[in-house]
C-alpha cells in the first residue's frame, strides 16, 4: 500500500499517465495530477474520486514555468510534500512526423520545450522538498526513440535523447542523497500518441495498464536500490524482475 504517499503525475488525463494515476490511486496514494485539457482531466479526477482517492487535479501545462509553480506549490500546500514525481507529459509534434530536413523549426522547438525543458522545470521545482527530507523518487518517461536514432522520429526522438541525458546527469548529481531518479521506456503501447506516430500500425501493442507494475515496483521498498537506470518496462516485466 502507498497510503500517505503523495504521487505527482504530469500529463495524467490519458494514455500511460491516466493508467498510472489509476494504479497509484488504487494502491492508496494521494495524487496530484495535471494536464492541459480540462475536460479529460476532470473525467479522470471524477473516476479517481469515485474510487475514494484523494486527488488534486490541476489544469496546467507541464512546460510552462508559471503553471508549474502553481501546480507544485498548491500540491505542497495541500499535501505538505511530494514523494514521487512521474514526468510523463510529452508531445509527439506534427503527424506524420517529418524527416529532420523538413521539420518546421517552431514545432521542433516546441517538442523540445515540452519533452525536455518541461521535466527539467518540474523536477527543479519538486526537488527542494525532496532534498530537505532526503527522500523521494523521480521517474522520467523515455522512449526507444530517445536511445537509438531512428529515421523519421524527428524532434520527438531528439527530445527523448535530451531527457535521457538529463536523467543521467541528474542521477549522478543526486548520487549522495536518498533521492532516486530513473527513466522508464514503456515500449510501444496502444495510445493516442502511438496512433499518431505509427499510422496504420498492424502489430499488437501493450495496453498502458499492463506496464504500471514497473512504476509501482520502482517506488516500493523492493525497488529502492534502483537509481540512475534506464528500464525497458515490457522486458523488465517479462523477465519478472519486479517479482
Amino acid at each position: 500500500m502507498l497510503k500517505d504517499q503523495v504521487v505527482m503525475i504530469t500529463g495524467a488525463s490519458k494514455g500511460l499517465g491516466r493508467a498510472l494515476a489509476m494504479a497509484f490511486g488504487e494502491k492508496g496514494a494521494k495524487l496530484a495530477i495535471c494536464a492541459r485539457g480540462q475536460e479529460k482531466l476532470r473525467k479522470v479526477e471524477k473516476e479517481l474520486r469515485n474510487m475514494g482517492v484523494q486527488v488534486l487535479a490541476v489544469q496546467a501545462d507541464a512546460s510552462n514555468p508559471f503553471d508549474i509553480e502553481r501546480f507544485v506549490s498548491i500540491t505542497e500546500k495541500e499535501f505538505g510534500k511530494i514523494d514521487v514525481l512521474i514526468n510523463n507529459a510529452s508531445v509527439l509534434g506534427p503527424s506524420p512526423m517529418p524527416i529532420l530536413a523538413d521539420y518546421p523549426a517552431d514545432e521542433f522547438l516546441n517538442v523540445l520545450r515540452v519533452n525536455a525543458f518541461g521535466p527539467f522545470l518540474v523536477t527543479k521545482r519538486v526537488l527542494p522538498g525532496m532534498l530537505l527530507r532526503n527522500e523521494g523518487t523521480i521517474i522520467n518517461i523515455t522512449s526507444e526513440a530517445g536511445h537509438i536514432g531512428y529515421e523519421g522520429w524527428g524532434a520527438y526522438g531528439v527530445s527523448k535523447f535530451a531527457l535521457e541525458g538529463l536523467t543521467e546527469i541528474w542521477a549522478e548529481e543526486l548520487a549522495n542523497t536518498n533521492i532516486r531518479m530513473n527513466m522508464v521506456d514503456p515500449g510501444e503501447m496502444d495510445t493516442e500518441m502511438h496512433q499518431l506516430a505509427v499510422i496504420d500500425c498492424d502489430y499488437p501493442l501493450a495496453k498502458p495498464e499492463e506496464i504500471v507494475d514497473v512504476f509501482l515496483y520502482l517506488v516500493s521498498k523492493e525497488g529502492a536500490h534502483i537509481h540512475g537506470q534506464r528500464i525497458e518496462a515490457q522486458k523488465f516485466l517479462k523477465r519478472g524482475e519486479n517479482q
Binding site: 509553480e69 505542497e76 500546500k77 532534498l131 530537505l132
Partner: protein, 341 residues
C-alpha cells in the same frame, strides 16, 4: 529595550537586482563574518561559508516559499464603480476565506467590494483606524483561492527594485511550502552545490517553516514592531531534538535568518510546534536555540537589527555596519550576507 540605530545607507548600496543579473552566481555574493565575542571582521565570499562551520554544526533554514502576494482589483461600493486596478497586498491568511490585507488607497470602507477577476471577488469586512490592515473576505477559499492568487499575483517589490523580476527570483533554492508574502531572504545566497559542500564536511541541515508577513505597511505612521506582526510557523519536534543534541556535543547551531530564530524560540518557549508567533526579540532577550546567524544587511529602522543585538553587542554591530558600507556591501533581499558567529 529598543534602540534606534543611526547610520546613513548610501543609495548605491541598495541591491537593485538579483546577483545572477549582475554577473554573479547566487552564492557568489560577499560574506562578512562578524565574531560576536571579539567584534573581529572577515571579508569573504558566501561560497566559502564552509570555512566558518565545523563538522557536527547544525544549519537551520526556513523552507517557506514566496507567493505572489501583490494583487490588483477594481474597487466598487455597492454597484458604484470607484477605481480600477487598485493595489492590494496580502499580509496574512486568517482562515479559509479571510485575509488581512494592505490597501494603499485612501477611503476604504466596510463593505467595499474588490473585483479581482471573473472568478474571485473580495469584500472588506473590517476597517480599523488603529491598524494598517483591512480584513477581506474572498468568494473563494483554500486551493481555489490559491490558484487565483498564482494566476493574478506578482511578487511584492520595493522601490529600490527597478525591474519587474519574476517570482522565481524571489525564492530561496530550498523554498518549498508556499506561504511567505516576502522572501525569507537570508537563505537566498544558498545553492544546492554549497549545501552539498557543507554536507560533505559533516554540517547538518534542518528546516522549519515560517511564513513571512509584510515588512513594510506603505505608510510610515504604522508601527512595524514584530509584536504587532503575527506570522505562522511550523517547527518539527525533531528539529528541537537536533538542536539539543548538537549543543550537547559542543557544536554550534546556526540560524539562517531572523525568521528561523523567531520560529524556533517560540517553539522552545511555548512548547508549541506550530501556530502563530509575534515574538519580539531584542538585546534583552536571551536566545537559547542558536549560537550564530546568517542574515542580510538591514536598514537602521528594521526590527531585524534589534534581534541581531541579542547575538552581538550593539557597538560591534554598528562597527560592522560601518565597515560594510565602507566595503560597499549590498543591502536588502538581493544583497550580500552577514554571518555572526
Amino acid at each position: 529595550m529598543r534602540t534606534t540605530y543611526t547610520f546613513q545607507l548610501p543609495k548605491e548600496l541598495n541591491a537593485t537586482c538579483p546577483p545572477e543579473k549582475r554577473g554573479l552566481r547566487r552564492d557568489g555574493v560577499k560574506l562578512m563574518v562578524l565574531n560576536k565575542q571579539t567584534g573581529a571582521i572577515d571579508h569573504d565570499c558566501f561560497y566559502n561559508l564552509d570555512q566558518y562551520l565545523n563538522k557536527g554544526d547544525l544549519l537551520i533554514v526556513n523552507n517557506s516559499r514566496t507567493i505572489p502576494a501583490l494583487l490588483k482589483a477594481d474597487w466598487y461600493r455597492g454597484q458604484k464603480f470607484l477605481k480600477m486596478n487598485c493595489e492590494i497586498r496580502l499580509a496574512r491568511q486568517l482562515n479559509e476565506r479571510e485575509w488581512d490585507v494592505i490597501i494603499p488607497q485612501e477611503g476604504i470602507q466596510f463593505g467595499d467590494i474588490f473585483h479581482f477577476s471573473n472568478n474571485v471577488i473580495g469584500k472588506v469586512t473590517k476597517v480599523s483606524e488603529h491598524s494598517p490592515f483591512k480584513r477581506m473576505e474572498f468568494t473563494l477559499g483554500g486551493v481555489q483561492l490559491l490558484h487565483e492568487i498564482y494566476k493574478l499575483g506578482e511578487p511584492i517589490r520595493y522601490e529600490y527594485i527597478h525591474q519587474p523580476y519574476l517570482l522565481e527570483d524571489y525564492q530561496t533554492v530550498f523554498g518549498s511550502i508556499p506561504g511567505s508574502m516576502e522572501m525569507p531572504s537570508a537563505g537566498r545566497a544558498f545553492t544546492w552545490e554549497l549545501l552539498e559542500k557543507l554536507k560533505r564536511k559533516g554540517v547538518q541541515v534542518a528546516s522549519i517553516i515560517l511564513h513571512t508577513g509584510l515588512s513594510y505597511y506603505l505608510d510610515d505612521k504604522w508601527d512595524h514592531s514584530p509584536s504587532l506582526q503575527f506570522e505562522e510557523f511550523v517547527v518539527p519536534p525533531n528539529v528541537i531534538k537536533q538542536i539539543q543534541e548538537t549543543k550537547n556535543k559542543g557544536n554550534k547551531v546556526i540560524a539562517v535568518g531572523t525568521t528561523v530564530i523567531r520560529a524556533v524560540e517560540t517553539a522552545i518557549h511555548t512548547g508549541k510546534y506550530s501556530g502563530w508567533t509575534n515574538l519580539y526579540i531584542d538585546r534583552d532577550f536571551k536566545i537559547i536555540s542558536a549560537d550564530g546567524i546568517i542574515t542580510g544587511f538591514h536598514e537602521p529602522e528594521a526590527s531585524h537589527l534589534h534581534l541581531l543585538s541579542s547575538f552581538v553587542p550593539e557597538s560591534f554591530l554598528m562597527k560592522a555596519y560601518e565597515e560594510a558600507i565602507k566595503h560597499e556591501y549590498y543591502w536588502h533581499e538581493f544583497g550580500d550576507m552577514n554571518l555572526i558567529i
